[in-house]
């Protein structure tokens, strides 16, 4: 197809400035990636709204589905700052979003999708000086959905704003702060230890869940 029109499911030229992965390896990761970066969200958009739209590209009958949604937060205020990661179980689902969803509206804003190298600890936070996204530092227009230029939110949105601002007040940093979302099916009878473990031990397989939970309870 590429001979006649450019397919929409190509990753952009975005280069994660903080990744330690080289360009070739990045390409390789992207070609298998199940994670989608979603940008230009309103600060008020919820994970459930995101789930509703992005589940339209899910293929549960092929072992896919939305694994988890990681809301991008302002590092200082712990409030959504206009981006998120949507992680699927399969690469094809992420590609489908680039073809069908990127460039359409969610919560009355045109969202932009891109393939992502995959979530890593700390990436849920904005990288701008002020704690939010870098692009909002340079933005000069008025954008009610992304904090306006001051606190001039419309009246209708005051209630939403209050809810949203409280929602992630408990957001944590560090390993285990972001849930895994559930891994593949495991046979319960096979290894009695597995019943006691999180099915998604992608963080650090050497630790069992006992220690991890102890860590969490101290941290959170």
């Amino acid at each position: 197809m590429a001979q006649v029109v450019a397919p929409l499911d190509q990753p952009s030229n975005y280069k994660d400035s903080q990744t330690r992965v080289d360009r070739t390896h990045q390409q390789e990761l992207l070609s298998k990636s199940t994670t989608l970066y979603v940008g230009n969200l309103s600060f008020f958009t919820t994970e459930e709204q995101i789930y509703e739209l992005f589940s339209k590209c899910a293929s549960p009958e092929e072992g896919g589905g939305i694994k988890r949604i990681i809301m991008g937060l302002d590092r200082n205020t712990r409030t959504p700052c206009g981006f998120c990661f949507v992680e699927y179980y399969t690469h094809a689902e992420a590609l489908a979003c680039l073809r069908y969803i990127s460039g359409t509206k969610l919560d009355e804003r045109i969202v932009r999708c891109d393939l992502d190298l995959g979530y890593r600890e700390g990436r849920q936070f904005g990288r701008g000086k002020s704690g939010g996204q870098v692009r909002d530092e340079h933005r000069t227009d008025y954008d009610a959905g992304r904090g306006g230029w001051g606190a001039q939110a419309q009246r209708l949105e005051v209630e939403r704003r209050r809810e949203v601002e409280e929602r992630y007040a408990d957001a944590q940093e560090g390993p285990g702060a972001v849930p895994g979302g559930g891994g593949d099916w495991k046979d319960a009878g096979e290894n009695p230890l597995k019943r006691g473990r999180s099915p998604d031990d992608e963080g650090d397989p050497s630790r069992d869940v006992r220690t991890r939970m102890d860590d969490d309870s101290q941290r959170m």
């Binding site: 197809m1 001979q3 006649v4 029109v5 397919p7 929409l8 499911d9 919820t46 994970e47 459930e48 709204q49 789930y51 509703e52 739209l53 339209k56 590209c57 293929s59 549960p60 009958e61 092929e62 072992g63 896919g64 589905g65 988890r68 949604i69 990681i70 809301m71 094809a92 489908a96 073809r99 069908y100 969803i101 460039g103 359409t104 509206k105 969610l106 919560d107 009355e108 209708l156 209630e159 939403r160 929602r167 992630y168 972001v178 849930p179 895994g180 559930g182 593949d184 099916w185 046979d187 319960a188 096979e190 006691g196 999180s198 099915p199 998604d200 939970m213 102890d214 969490d216 309870s217």
Partner: protein
């Protein structure tokens, strides 16, 4: 002209190209000019392009052929012009400046092109095959290839219909190749004495008439549940193709020039036939591949159904698909939608430019309003696209392909319905003033079909389309024109649609935003369009008056204080013991489970992430609860899991999406199994808790989620096993190679020994396959209890299945509509999951249909009829 909108953009692209490809080779330039043929005016460009090619060295021919192959298969609307180009290139030149031209060149190019066609045939790439046939058919009329050889090619496709046990999917493609080839090449074939068109038409007709069994389950209008007849608002693709062919055949293909542009007729003065297509056989379908044969019994084969297209507009607005030109226009648009799926924005632009490639006068034109056809482009595109978007297609890709796809096949994607939805969005953005009204008309027409028995799955897809579309256009809709329908029964499909559409809109947006878009009458509680209040969690023990308020609060405090799972379990154990001494109520276990699960949901209610965090932190607790009770393991597991599910439903009573997400993740973390969800959904998630009576759209969502989970797990297990097998084989081969110099006795690998990972993968697959079978059995059994079993089934289930009763549907009450809907979801189950159901048919029949007496009444007969239509 009115399509000038795209012109500016093209110019811009062109400039970009010049900038980016300064060092473009001659070959690239030639290829690009062939692919871009006709961007301004194909007729003017053709002689220039042809002269340019003829001035090159003979080494250019392979480039030209490659470009033609891409052009024909990816821009089929240009095929008549590509045929003209080849005609020009194969005509002996009188000019001396040209180095290339003439019969030899044409012959050489066609030989080369044929190799590519053979490649498509070998891969059974049907769309490409069909477009090559179009190309050959035009070339036959242009007298470049011999009519007799084209006739033989078409006969090869007709021969497919006589194959023993030919699948409908394969036969359908072959029929389309034959019919479309005949329609285009009709005039040439009619003049060819060796061509026996009558026998071809007869053979196609007898096939098309013999396959009505593929229609029953996929009728888009299912009002008359038991009736086989199709409704007049829908046309079946092959029926339309055959009717169109017969019309042409009867008048000696005179209509051909009104359907297909034939630019070569004007360009060519004289020219003789230069090529005869070699004879071919359509290769057989590859059914199985070695290496996976041991699992083949559980792999699924895609089900083939008839393809109904709903008619939204009248014949004077959009072309009748049963006429030759109507069929040609529709197929042309369908191909565009299919080919340009990779870029919906380009697809939208090309769809709006489509009239440029049709016979002038086909579509309404501002400057030339008088024409015999004069169809409305936007409505036609909408009819084609939107019926595609709501078409009942099996969403299942054959697992064989998705597994092997990783290794052997090119990636193949089934288009998701969201593609069609956002394609329509793009069309609206490009031409808001014309596409917008066409969308409005389409929605109204489809909405009105809801009273005529529009299939429930289509109705739901309509609601999804409606809400997603409105979400892109400020939720502006003239709701007030449907106020009159609020008087209908609360379960009437129109009212179900309004509720669903508003619910989906709220999910994409938020409650207060959507309320504002509705007229007052629809905002009232009695209208039942809106949920009573914004979706919110309901913690049953919030009320201090609740007898369990204090207890629940103590559990909640532990959870929000992030207490260890063991401590929470110990606390629950303590509570239970206290209950046992003070309370004589038998449902202590249920109460404890409800308190624990609701408290957990409560701390996870802020967002999906919070919910997942809560689950992950308290997995041991949830597993303990699901295992049948706190520590002692009293009570049955099934009952415990049903209690957990009921607690979720109670908590998210005001939020269907909350239930769907919560259950999906409980299955993902293996707290509950898909079978638990299915059984529970039938009994507890309907309008009447505790009874097998109905399957509503919401219940179906839950059941489908569980079935997909069970099926998806089998797919993953297959994939893992295939990867491990391959690794094992590779390792064995490597070991063998490295032992090459050693004693043969030592190097011999033991064929029986498998790696532990492989052994456990085999075991996992077996166990997941059993789970899949159980899930399907529970589903069929659930429908059987709702629809047939005396005592459990609703009395209305027998009332709604006769034609006379359907005709009196205006007097139906809630119970009748619910029963009708349940029947329709059962039909949807059978067609959607046919490949899986067929795999387990004998077990399912033994389990569900054991009591043959029950099957004797009308409901039993219909249940069995639907089942048998699926098996066919």
């Amino acid at each position: 002209m009115s399509y000038g909108g795209g012109g500016y953009r093209r110019k811009h692209h062109y400039r970009d190209d010049v900038e980016h490809h300064v060092h473009e080779t001659l070959e690239q330039k030639i290829k690009s000019s062939i692919l871009k043929l006709g961007e301004v005016d194909p007729l003017q460009e053709l002689p220039r392009l042809s002269a340019h090619i003829c001035a090159q060295k003979s080494t250019i021919t392979s480039t030209v052929v490659e470009a033609l192959r891409i052009g024909v298969t990816q821009q089929p609307y240009k095929i008549p012009y590509y045929a003209t180009l080849l005609r020009l290139l194969s005509t002996t030149s009188v000019s001396e400046e040209t180095t290339l031209q003439g019969q030899e060149l044409g012959k050489q190019m066609l030989e080369d092109f044929w190799k590519g066609f053979q490649g498509f045939l070998d891969r059974l790439a049907w769309r490409e095959i069909r477009h090559c046939v179009h190309f050959f058919a035009h070339l036959a009329v242009a007298q470049v290839i011999s009519a007799a050889s084209l006739y033989n090619l078409i006969s090869a496709f007709v021969a497919v219909l006589d194959e023993f046990g030919v699948s409908h999917g394969r036969a359908k493609q072959a029929v389309r190749c034959a019919i479309e080839g005949l329609m285009i090449a009709g005039p040439a074939l009619a003049a060819e004495s060796s061509a026996d068109i009558t026998s071809i038409v007869t053979a196609i007709k007898s096939y098309v008439q013999s396959v009505s069994r593929f229609k029953y389950l996929v009728r888009p209008i299912t009002g008359h549940l038991a009736d086989d007849g199709s409704h007049n608002v829908a046309n079946e693709l092959l029926d339309s193709a055959l009717t169109a062919l017969e019309v042409m055949y009867e008048d000696g293909f005179a209509q051909g020039s009104e359907c297909f542009p034939r630019p070569y007729v004007e360009v060519i003065t004289e020219g003789s036939v230069v090529f005869a297509l070699p004879s071919v056989l359509v290769p057989p379908e590859v059914i199985e591949l070695d290496g996976l044969s041991s699992e083949s019994d559980i792999l699924v084969k895609k089900a083939d159904w008839a393809e109904f297209h709903i008619r939204i507009f009248d014949n004077d607005v959009t072309p009748d698909p049963n006429t030759p030109s109507g069929y040609a226009v529709r197929c042309g648009l369908l191909d565009l939608v299919d080919i340009f799926e990779v870029n919906r924005k380009e697809c939208a632009r090309l769809l709006l430019e489509f009239p440029k490639w049709t016979i002038p006068g086909t579509f309404q034109h501002a400057q030339d309003p008088v024409s015999d056809k004069n169809w409305q482009l936007e409505c036609t595109i909408l009819e084609v696209t939107c019926q595609t978007s709501v078409r009942i297609a099996s969403p299942l890709k054959p697992s064989v392909q998705s597994i092997l796809g990783q290794f052997l096949l090119l990636p193949e994607s089934t288009h998701k319905s969201v593609y069609f939805i956002t394609l329509i969005t793009e069309l609206c953005k490009l031409a808001p003033s014309t596409v917008g009204p066409a969308v409005g008309k389409s929605i109204r027409k489809m909405y009105n079909l809801l009273s005529e028995g529009l299939d429930v799955a289509l109705a739901d897809r309509l609601a999804i389309w409606f809400s997603t579309h409105m979400s892109n256009f400020n939720f502006i809709w003239v709701w007030k024109e449907w106020i009159g329908d609020l008087g209908l029964s609360i379960q009437h499909p129109k009212r179900v649609f309004m509720r669903r559409a508003v619910e989906y809109e709220i999910r994409l947006s938020y409650y207060d935003r959507i309320v504002k878009t509705l007229p007052e009458q629809m905002q009232s509680r009695e209208a039942c369009v809106l949920p009573e209040e914004a979706p919110r969690p309901i913690f049953a023990y919030d009320d201090p008056a609740s007898p369990y308020h204090d207890i629940a609060q103590s559990v909640l405090n532990l959870l929000s204080g992030r207490a260890k799972a063991e401590d929470v379990m110990a606390h629950l154990e303590e509570l239970k013991n206290t209950f046992e001494t003070t309370d004589t109520d038998g449902n202590i276990n249920t109460t404890i489970r409800a308190i624990a699960v609701q408290s957990l949901l409560h701390i996870g209610s802020r967002s999906i992430s919070h919910y997942l965090n809560a689950i992950e932190r308290y997995l041991p607790l949830l597993r303990n609860l699901a295992g049948g009770g706190i520590s002692s393991g009293r009570g049955s597991n099934t009952e415990a899991r049903s209690d957990i599910l009921s607690a979720v439903l109670a908590f998210w009573k005001q939020n269907n999406q909350g239930v769907i997400i919560a259950l999906d993740k409980l299955m993902q973390y293996q707290i509950v199994d898909p079978t638990d969800v299915i059984t529970w959904s039938f009994v507890h998630a309907g309008p009447k808790n505790g009874e097998y009576r109905t399957c509503t759209a919401f219940q179906w969502d839950l059941i489908k989620g569980a079935l997909d989970k069970a099926n998806g797990r089998v797919v993953i297990a297959h994939r893992r096993l295939a990867t491990l097998r391959k690794e094992d084989d590779d390792n064995a081969a490597r070991a063998k190679a490295s032992h090459g110099g050693m004693d043969i006795e030592d190097a011999k690998p033991d064929p029986v020994v498998e790696s532990p990972a492989l052994a456990s993968a085999v075991k996992a697959l077996a166990s997941l396959t059993r789970e899949q079978e159980a899930a399907l059995t529970q589903t069929v059994d659930g429908f059987f209890r709702c629809l047939v079993t005396p005592g459990t089934s609703s009395p209305a289930t027998r009332d709604v299945i006769t034609t006379t009763v359907w005709d009196n549907r205006n007097s139906w009450a809630e119970a009748e509509w619910l029963s009708w809907e349940t029947w329709a979801w059962y039909i949807h189950l059978c067609r959607t999951y046919a490949p899986y159901l067929r795999n387990y048919a004998s077990t399912l029949e033994a389990n569900v249909f054991a009591d043959s007496k029950v099957l004797d009444d009308p409901a039993g007969e219909l249940f069995k009829k639907i089942w048998s239509s699926m098996l066919d």
